[in-house]
Symmetry: C3
Subunit: 219 residues, 3 copies
């Protein structure tokens, strides 16, 4: 049995978050593909892409063979999300908008941002690189899924979603720079990302457009 499964069963909180995130991301992507009447192969591809393309891009950027191609248990978690989306679609019109999914997705957003920031820091990139790789790790899969669905990535014009990852990544970099507490940076990043995302989803936060800023400045 794998180390990751052991970590989940015996309570490493970060492994638990990552596990929840993989299932939730795959479920969200697959549910979108089902609504577009993609076939079962397409549903699986969009679901797995949502869960793994962010991490694969992160690994390509720091020049390593993607972890997802080496870790069968991670793929199994992604496939579980795909199956859940198919089964839940029978009873629910939008299982990806259910509260449990939104909370699980926020947890995944935090876990993936943190993993990205850790890997980027180890790779020795700039502060911008840490924030960029953390954000790509967290939202790259969903953005790529939208491209497969022939639409603009929703993170670019809707919601307050990728911004949570950006602010989480900045928190990582700030706390890591102070450097007192071991794994303090990871904890700060995860806490900031998940908290902001849950508030944003509850309060319908969004990032303004230039047009809206203009009309606010010049009524």
């Amino acid at each position: 049995m794998s180390q990751q499964l052991g970590s989940v069963l015996f309570g490493d909180p970060f492994a638990v978050m990552n596990t929840i995130g993989l299932v939730a991301f795959a479920l969200v992507g697959s549910a979108k593909a089902i609504r577009e009447e993609f076939d079962l192969f397409g549903v699986a591809v969009v679901g797995l892409a949502t869960a793994f393309v962010g991490g694969v891009t992160r690994d390509l950027l720091v020049n390593r063979v993607p972890l997802a191609l080496q870790s069968p248990i991670e793929i199994a978690l992604g496939l579980l999300g795909v199956v859940l989306a198919v089964v839940l679609s029978v009873g629910l019109s939008a299982p990806d908008e259910h509260t449990i999914t939104v909370v699980s997705d926020a947890i995944g957003l935090a876990a993936f941002t943190t993993t990205g920031a850790i890997v980027a820091t180890e790779a020795g990139v700039s502060a911008f690189g840490v924030v960029a790789i953390g954000t790509i790790n967290a939202v790259g899969g969903g953005a790529f899924a939208d491209i497969l669905l022939d639409r603009s990535p929703f993170i670019l014009f809707d919601d307050f979603y990728a911004s949570c990852a950006v602010l989480g990544g900045i928190s990582y970099w700030l706390v890591d720079g102070v450097g007192v507490i071991p794994s303090g940076a990871a904890a700060a990043c995860a806490a900031v990302t998940v908290t902001l995302r849950l508030i944003a989803a509850t309060r319908d936060w969004y990032v303004p457009t230039v047009q809206r800023l203009q009309s606010a400045l010049d009524p």
Copy 2:
């Protein structure tokens, strides 16, 4: 003269299949771009992308400089496919749907799946990684071409196409695991992929959607 050209002329069956595939894939991609009234540069880019992006992605995933950037003869074969698409478009409305093209494309699908599975096995990835890289090698170029043409990749909602590569990749992994016959895995992968694809094209097979499964279960 290159080793590959020698292999083709003196009868390595796999090199013959790869050669046919590169020309067919480039022809299919270019014909699509011509129908969308892309300019000649766009037609060449979409044709070459269809032939090479799958292999380039495979090489990026296993961390090597893409073969296509080092092998002039492969590029020449791709350009031949582009030129064929332009010339044949004068007489035929859809040279990419001609029987010769469909058969050549099926041969390419088999050759590219097999190459991907071999490279992935050498790179030491998981069983899922072998099937995924084989499939990406085979259908990644066509999927990327569809994105350039501003549409969803057809493999995600139409036809029984990528599924042939998936089943070919699984065959590779199964036979490779038994490990008795030298190059048995490659032969099995190529045979399964091309046979399934030719049957699928003849019989109009498709992968069901969730909606269709639901109405079948609940009439």
Copy 3:
């Protein structure tokens, strides 16, 4: 202070061109995203993608960690372009079509093609690889930005833009092959690319489609 900033201040002409190009590319990408009413995060992503995705793709193809993730000053130049697009959008409906922008963009096209050709030559790829990587370095960011904006890359059907980079890349390869003058290849590539682009923009050059060729041949 970085070596690049020193080069710009004390007059390395290539560093000056690269600096102008980064700002212009980011401005052009951001202006497109503003017109599509993307939010401020989306405007920044599309602007930075336009400026950096070409170079990042180049680095991935030759297997190195992308320079953009290591160089804060390059990112600062990209962000300057984003801010300029936002500020100028208040007064101008299309700051990306202003003559200063078009000229700066042509300078960037030349600088990026040249950088790509140099890196590709160092990586030891084929002649096709040199031209392809030079062109991808120059136009890959703009093409990716168009995909984010849910449209086909404009370079594939409109204008005479990527073709300038292709011809610049060929010039690099030809002069580099002769090999007499130190940095003659880079100078030739940059001069050919920027000159062709400025003429093309002035004279409204375009690359013909197959349909137009047919009607010209068969009136």
